[in-house]
Amino acid sequence: MFKIKMADAKLLRDMVTAISILVDEATFKIDQKGLKLRAMDPSRVAMVDFEWPKTVFDEYTTTEPTKMCINISEMLKLLKRAGKDEVVELSLDEKTGKLQIKITGKYARNFTMPTLEASEEEVPTPKITFNVKAKATTQGLSQAIEDAQLVSDHVRIEADNEKLVLNAAGDLMGATITLQKGSDALLDLEAKEPSKATFSLSYLSEIIKEASATSDIATLEFSTDMPIKLDFQQAKEGKLTFYLAPRIETE
């Protein structure tokens, strides 16, 4: 049993939107400390690691650790009904196994939706040593990705201690986007060794676009031909991190 309340429905909606990029059925773990989710997308190319401690909520009560699996796109449809400054409350009805979503503001709405059987699969964190760590504004990052998307469906990210370079090469067109260390977009950059890796833009652009709604600053970590870790700093406590596997040149 649990019951949680948030005064700002938008915050919850944005977070669920960000998760919905990768996951169609999400298993949330709810315990004394807070709300957690770790899941991989069906193609196993990317994963999301999300955590909100109970302090993020305006009200948080839970009796025992619970696992709750829900269809995320269905949930999102309901959450989208909440306007700005409306209050949203989630609770699990133990008897029916249904999730209640209560939205109050201009008027009161009480939705129920079914929960699904929780998957027992544990998602491990990829074990990677990162050689590059870059801190950027999500706005700057979004624009750079949009630039790259004009010419290709994948992008090579390269960094040394001076700059972070996005290189996109399409069949006919190409683009090079350079973010200098200390510029408005790139707040910090450390590279133990120069590194580069290539990623699918369809994943990268959606992740950055949706996660930007929850965060202003993102930390990128990567190494040559290894998965990238994108950590979106949250306004309140909590974490929203994505991992994305690279595209590798073969033969």
Binding site: S20, I21, L22, V23, D24, E25, M40, D41, P42, S43, R44, V45, A46, M47, C69, N71, I72, S73, P114, L116, E117, S119, E120, E121, P126, K127, I128, H154, T198, S200, S202, M226, P227, Y243, L244, A245, P246, R247, I248, E249, T250, E251
Partner: protein, 743 residues
């Protein structure tokens, strides 16, 4: 019972514990208590997914590491052999006493070989048929086998595959009286009887890793065996689809068994029409990719296009009309949870393990061409129902039958859900089936007297269940037949196989097929065409699947037959004397026409359109044709019929590749099949020499031949390529998306 405490070699424990297996399941515990690890013969009857294979793994590794033994693992299907091979591979890191690593081998192909290379392997995984053919070749290493594992032993009941299995087991026990036998079976009624036959103890359990709820759906309510009932939402007018949609909405997968291929396809189409709205963006993204793989896996046909279209909507069908590569792709993406609803014919229940949360048995009847509809057996029902519930994903699995009326609902509850599976019966006592086993018994030196033959068949499951006396008559009749046809010779008490008989046994064909081939080869036809040979092999009982002409094509086939009459090596029966034999004959002509279309480069899609033959059937026909042409070739050389050898050799190759004669030289290249071969040929590259002289740019510019393939061709044929171009090609980027799970 914990793995750590078992009396099995330490490295095996380490591997298992590392992979997360710590504790034994109850059926495994019972098998150990019954003495499986002490070398006792055992029949373990227990539901699907209850961990029977692990018991086999324990025994196998104990034999290798402690007794220097050798294991043969028998499965009924090639796909299952591959599955087991993958499971055993994890042990190849273990070193034996002689400091060599454990080696796992798999052999499922070529029936005319003793595969001496298998001697080096510790575990040999194979199909029952391949094991039978190896025994006919008296592969030497088979004498060293110390453990035989027979998987899915309840298939003794199968009219086609059962007899082979019992003969193989009887032969292995004959050559090696100390062999340990471990038989794995679904839950059946007369386990004890099988155990007595194998001189084994038996363990039988109903234990499953996941709770199974069986029920009947009537209108919108499911009535469960345990008294529970549940309403489902009525979204369409088809109850099977409603059940499937309900499951998908609650996050599960559904498997629907339909009576016929046509029904399976129709259901899949309907489901796809309804499911779209419940699919999320991430899953659709994954499915796009799966659909592309389906299209890339074979020649494009209306069937592959339909399948790809369905897969985009998380739905697919699975039946024997699909080619192997498509079936494999569908199975994999169902296992990965991408495909949500799979419709299938009942054959899937006896094949690879594909569990789903909900199993819907849409029709409790089954359709067999030539017989019509008949109700499935309880054993078959239990096999289907047993697929319900996915370990690690589902808490409960549901198996649902569908009733239209209250009476039917009661009937289904009584006759299937509450019923006990039937007894298993030996299917050996059929002349057609016994024929080749009787010949093989003599030809492969298992017996040399009539008495010895009866002794051997006295060890079969049939003799254990019935009385050897009951088949003595059939055996005597067969002996007379093979004697009259000069496959055996008699001197006093002793019976020997002639060269002809020996070769027939090794070639793994029915003696009747051999007689048809021999008689045809003796005939002096004015001229022998492709059609002559293709029709002759289509006339043998070993050719399958049987093609039945549709009524609208009967006339066209009859006309074709009249036109080509002088080419046939077998006389056509009279239309008015025996209608059934006549239509059967037309079916054989149709098979020959399909094969002729194939080697004259009709596309797969044209064959489907013209003959209404599905790819899976086409591939099986091709497989069988290759094998029978090979047998023809071998018998012709045995009889010194040299004139025909170039013809049979060429035809064999053309059937394998599906090309006209002129393409044979270039389809030998790796990466060049019938489609690309034709493109090369029509562009003027008619020989290897032409291709050698061609510039690589010209090759690259041909349709369907990209830079990568052009490079591969040049690597095979040689010739001059400009250095810059070659270097550029070397650098040609081929990108592969990695999965996160790889890190």
């Amino acid at each position: 019972m914990k793995i750590i405490n078992l009396p099995i070699p330490e490295p095996v424990k380490e591997i298992l514990i590392k992979s997360g297996i710590v504790e034994l399941y109850p059926p495994q515990e019972e098998a150990i208590k019954a003495g499986a690890l002490e070398g006792r013969n055992l029949v373990l009857a227990s539901p699907t997914a209850s961990g029977k294979t692990l018991v086999a793994e324990f025994c196998a590794l104990k034999h290798i590491l402690e007794k220097n033994g050798k294991i043969i693992y028998l499965t009924p299907l090639r796909a299952l052999a591959n599955e087991k091979f993958d499971e055993f591979k994890k042990y190849t890191s273990i070193k034996k006493d002689d400091s060599r690593r454990i080696r796992i081998g798999i052999s499922t192909g070529d029936f005319d070989s003793s595969d001496p290379w298998l001697e080096r392997y510790d575990i040999i995984i194979t199909t029952n048929e391949k094991a039978d053919s190896l025994l006919r070749h008296r592969a030497k290493w088979m004498d060293e086998i110390s453990l035989v594992v027979a998987d899915e032993v309840h298939l003794l009941n199968d009219a086609e595959r059962g007899p082979t299995l019992e003969v193989v087991l009887a032969r292995l026990m004959q050559i090696n009286p100390d062999i340990q036998v471990l038989a794995l079976s679904a839950t059946i009624n007369n386990v004890q009887e099988i155990a007595e036959w194998l001189k084994a103890d038996y363990v039988t359990t109903e234990w499953r890793p996941i709770l199974l709820k069986e029920g009947v759906l009537l209108h919108e309510e499911i009535q469960f065996k345990d008294g529970d009932a549940r309403k489902i939402e009525k979204e369409t007018r088809n109850p099977a689809i409603n059940l499937a949609l309900n499951t998908v909405k609650s996050g599960g997968q559904a498997l629907i068994f339909a009576a016929t291929r046509k029904n399976a396809v129709m259901l899949a189409k309907k489901v796809a029409g309804e499911i779209e709205q419940v699919l999320s963006k991430p899953i659709k993204r994954a499915l796009e990719h799966e659909a592309e793989r389906i299209l890339a896996a074979s020649e494009r046909t209306r069937i592959s296009e339909l399948l790809a279209e369905l897969v985009k909507r998380a739905t697919a069908f699975h039946h024997a009309g699909l080619g192997g590569s498509h079936r494999k792709l569908i199975e994999d993406s169902f296992r990965e949870g991408k495909i949500k609803v799979l419709t299938a014919t009942p054959t899937l229940a006896f094949g690879v393990n594909l569990p789903a949360r909900t199993v819907v048995i849409q029709d409790y009847r089954r359709y067999e061409p030539g017989y019509g509809y008949y109700p499935i057996s309880v054993l078959e029902y239990k096999q289907m129902a047993g697929r319900a519930g996915r370990p690690k994903y589902d808490k409960v699995g549901e198996a649902i039958l569908i009733a239209k009326t209250a009476d039917e609902s009661d009937y289904l509850m009584e006759s299937y859900i509450l019923a006990k599976p039937e007894r298993i019966w030996s299917r050996l006592a059929v002349e057609r089936i016994l024929r080749s086993h009787v010949l093989a018994t003599i030809a492969a030196d298992f017996a040399h007297t009539e008495r010895g033959i009866y002794d051997f068949f006295g060890r079969t499951f049939y003799a254990h269940q019935c009385e050897i006396g009951a088949i003595k008559g059939i055996i005597a009749k067969i002996l007379k037949y093979v004697y009259d046809e000069e496959m055996i010779d008699v001197s006093g008490e002793n019976i020997y196989a002639t060269e002809f008989g020996k070769r027939v046994s090794e070639l793994y064909i029915d003696p009747v097929s051999a007689v048809i081939i021999r008689n045809a080869l003796r005939k002096k036809l004015a001229y022998i065409t492709d059609l002559s040979l293709l029709h002759m092999i289509a006339h043998t009982p070993d050719m399958g699947p049987i093609m039945r002409p549709y009524s609208r094509e009967l006339d066209a086939i009859a006309v074709f037959m009249e036109e080509h009459k002088p080419e046939f090596m077998v006389d056509a029966p009279d239309e008015w004397e025996d209608r059934i034999t006549y239509e059967q004959f037309l079916g054989e002509v149709k098979t020959a026409m399909v094969l002729k279309g194939w080697i004259e480069e009709m596309t797969e899609d044209e064959i489907i359109e013209k003959f209404r033959t599905q790819p899976g059937d086409l591939y099986r026909t091709i497989e069988n044709a290759k094998w029978l042409l090979y047998a023809t070739h071998e018998l012709a050389s045995l009889f010194g019929n040299k004139g025909i050898l170039p013809k049979t050799a060429e035809l064999m190759e053309r059937v394998e590749k599906g090309v006209k004669k002129e393409l044979l030289p270039i389809v030998k290249l790796e990466g060049i099949g019938r489609t690309r071969g034709r493109i090369l040929y029509n562009s003027g590259y008619k020989t290897i020499e032409d291709i050698k002289l061609a510039s690589i740019e010209d090759l690259m510019n041909l349709p369907l031949i990209g830079p990568k393939l052009a490079k591969k061709i040049k690597e095979q044929v040689g010739g001059f390529v400009k250095k810059e171009i070659w270097e550029k090609l070397e650098k040609e980027e081929v990108w592969k998306q990695k999965a996160l799970t790889e890190y």
